[in-house]
């Protein structure tokens, strides 16, 4: 500007094009901010859906465990079953570990079962969960009676890497 002085009467040619870039920058900023907000909303939605899938897997595993234990208190590893639309497999069964002292002619014991759902199109990675079992068996002078399931509870979902059965 100093090197090329111009008459004050007409506006400098550099100043003529300032409105277009300004508007372009402002538009770009507006669009970028709204797109990022949209992306955040989409992410929240997919998170809700993922949570729902996880809960569904939990439900299915719980149903599978109930179905399995309705049949027998000591299932065989590798046993499969079908309850409603849910196909499952018993991956591991640890126990029963009987407590030392029988109280009132009844001995208590614990066992842990790990169940796995069959992978489906919806869930290619089959979820698995562990369940803790409370068992009891009658102690008579002649030996032990048949064992019986008293209660069981969910120990939570298990990852693929955890092959162990410890709760």
């Amino acid at each position: 500007m100093a090197r090329f002085p111009r008459p004050k009467a007409s506006p400098p040619p550099e100043a003529a094009g300032f409105l277009l870039p300004l508007s372009a920058t402002a538009s770009l900023l507006l669009l970028l901010s709204s797109v990022s907000l949209q992306a955040a909303a989409l992410q929240a939605r997919s998170k809700v859906q993922a949570g729902q899938r996880l809960r569904q897997a939990e439900d299915q595993l719980m149903s599978a465990a109930q179905h399995l234990l309705a049949g027998t208190a000591t299932p065989a590893v590798g046993q499969t079953g079908l309850v409603g639309p849910v196909a499952y497999r018993l991956v591991a069964f640890d126990g029963p570990h009987w407590n030392g002292a029988p109280a009132g002619g009844l001995q208590r014991g614990q066992a842990v079962a790990i169940l796995e759902l069959q992978p489906s199109a919806e869930q290619p990675r089959a979820p698995r969960a562990a369940f803790g079992l409370e068992l009891a068996r009658a102690v008579t002078p002649s030996g032990f009676g048949a064992q019986q399931l008293l209660a069981f509870r969910e120990l939570g979902l298990r990852g693929r890497a955890s092959q162990g059965v410890a709760p």
Binding site: L20, A26, S34, A40, A41, R45, R55, E134, Q148, F152
Partner: protein, 138 residues
């Protein structure tokens, strides 16, 4: 600065801002929907666990020697209890001595579980054993 530049610049700005407003409002409504859904899912979970607790509150209490009879009794027993508000509950006895518990919300969300009276020591030949304290609510 001429008229054409002013016109083009303002048209660009107006288009961009209306576009962004639209995106912004749809994003906001999606967020709101996701929040509402999340809350509904949480309520559904609570209702499901409450219904399951009603079912398993009797854990260790022998109901019947025959597990199929026990499951139909249990289904009728839970059905008689008041349903959680805002949800529709379906309890039915299923083949294989199971009780199917299904809860659905108005928004289309639903959860279902199959429960077995045998797994809680409510039936079977050895069901005459002593009652178990209720740490089996889950």
């Amino acid at each position: 600065m001429n008229l054409v530049e002013v016109l083009v610049a303002s048209a660009m700005f107006v288009t961009a801002s209306s576009c962004s407003l639209q995106l912004w409002s749809s994003g906001a409504s999606w967020t709101r929907q996701a929040e509402a859904k999340q809350q509904q899912v949480a309520e559904l979970e609570a209702a499901l666990l409450a219904s399951q607790a009603q079912l398993t509150a009797l854990a260790g209490t022998p109901i019947a020697t025959d597990c199929t009879a026990a499951s139909s009794w249990l289904a009728a027993h839970v059905q008689a209890q008041p349903a959680p508000s805002g949800f529709t509950r379906q309890v039915s006895a299923e083949p294989g001595a199971l009780v199917r518990l299904q809860l659905s919300a108005a928004g289309g969300e639903q959860r279902q579980r199959w429960l077995s009276p045998a797994a809680y020591g409510m039936c079977g030949a050895a069901a005459a054993a002593e009652p178990e304290s209720s740490d089996a609510t889950l």
